[in-house]
């Protein structure tokens, strides 16, 4: 091996060794446990800054893929990162790590909900929680709506989806098969 190749090797080596499946599992387990109300900002901090599994550019690149594909961004990200470092077993370790703790916690909450269904106070509490959760969803929808509010074409397409799904209660698959291609073509070809 010449000196030159050694230098090249050193330049391509990442700052830390590739994580093992066990480390992937534990890393995503922690992420699942402490990620309240949106895991993504936290994921970046842990994966890029703390554990240094990926560089910032690699993270952004992988996130781009995960946002492009169907499924939760963070779920897809765990699969992509696991697969990238340790193949299928890494992907499984990351995904299971991510959903293990939240699954156990929601089921525990579900048990409490069912157990106290007949207690009026607890019922009122869960009703308040549900109302608050719907409020969060409203503000999320508003924040997404604002950037397209003054653009007639995207607004029209969003309205068509809203009417089909919320008002007409049409099934999602056929609605998407018709409206999604129309949406892409319209945004692409027509000035908005």
């Amino acid at each position: 091996m010449t000196t030159e190749t050694i230098i090249t090797d050193q330049n391509t080596v990442r700052q830390t060794p590739a994580p093992s499946s066990r480390e992937l599992f534990l890393g995503f387990l922690m992420l699942g446990l402490i990620g309240f109300g949106g895991v993504l900002p936290l994921a970046r901090r842990i994966i890029v800054e703390q554990r240094r599994w990926l560089t910032a550019a690699e993270f952004t690149d992988m996130l781009g893929l995960c946002q492009f594909l169907p499924g939760g961004n963070i779920i897809n990200l765990s699969v992509a990162i696991g697969l990238h470092f340790r193949g299928v077993s890494g992907a499984l370790a990351s995904l299971l790590g991510l959903i293990a703790a939240p699954s156990a916690i929601v089921i525990a909450l579900g048990v409490v909900y069912q157990r106290f269904q007949d207690n009026p106070s607890v019922q009122h509490m869960f009703a308040g929680l549900a109302a608050a959760a719907s409020g969060l969803l409203i503000s999320m929808a508003l924040k997404m709506l604002m950037p397209i509010l003054k653009k007639p074409l995207p607004l029209l397409i969003a309205s068509l989806f809203f009417i089909s799904i919320a008002l007409l209660r049409l099934p999602l698959l056929p609605t998407m098969l018709v409206l999604a291609p129309l949406s892409v073509i319209a945004i692409w070809k027509l000035p908005s």
């Binding site: 893929l65 697969l83 995904l95 939240p102 699954s103 069912q114 929680l129 608050a132 409020g135 995207p154």
Partner: protein, 176 residues
């Protein structure tokens, strides 16, 4: 039981592949399937489960696990989790190889931009349906409106908002 599990598997594997723009876009279809078509729960139960999942840590699609558990116990949890997380994960794995080749192609940005209005429309539909089911008294409607306004205007952590909502709900004001 087998029929129920089969139905859960069909519904959630389809939703898995339709969830463009994240989990909140498929809530209306999930609600339509589990409430209107299969009558596994009331719209209020569905909204409550969505809320419980929001109050828990982790990815925002844990409502799936809860629905599976409610409908068919532990086998339900296993089937819905596999169906919801399996197909999209496999797709991610397959596309990961091709990604380097098409991530800089202009059509990728076009498709992604073209799907933004769809995501907006679907999240708005989710908000409308979930709110309709959970804000059925004036007190609850006030909680929903206040929480929407506060999170829209400020950067307060969602968990505090949920806790405040639960506390206000516990008081029972405006719920009879």
């Amino acid at each position: 039981m087998t029929d129920t599990l089969l139905a859960l598997a069909t519904i959630f594997s389809q939703l898995s592949l339709l969830a463009f723009g994240g989990g909140n876009t498929i809530l209306p279809e999930m609600q339509r399937q589990v409430v209107e078509i299969h009558h596994w729960m009331s719209p209020q139960d569905f909204s409550a489960m969505f809320a419980l999942a929001q109050a828990a840590p982790g990815p925002n699609m844990m409502v799936v696990t809860l629905v599976g558990w409610h409908v068919a116990g532990w086998p339900g949890v296993l089937v819905t989790s596999l169906a919801k997380f399996g197909p999209s994960s496999i797709l991610t794995g397959v596309v990961l190889h091709l990604w380097q080749r098409f991530k800089d192609k202009p059509w990728r940005a076009t498709v992604q931009a073209g799907l933004v209005p769809m995501t907006v429309g679907l999240v708005a539909a989710s908000a409308a349906l979930i709110t309709q089911a959970s804000a059925h008294t004036w007190g609850l409607a006030a909680i929903a409106a206040a929480c929407a306004l506060i999170t829209y205007k400020s950067k307060v952590h969602p968990l505090w908002v949920l806790a405040a909502g639960a506390l206000l709900g516990f008081s029972g004001i405006g719920q009879v």
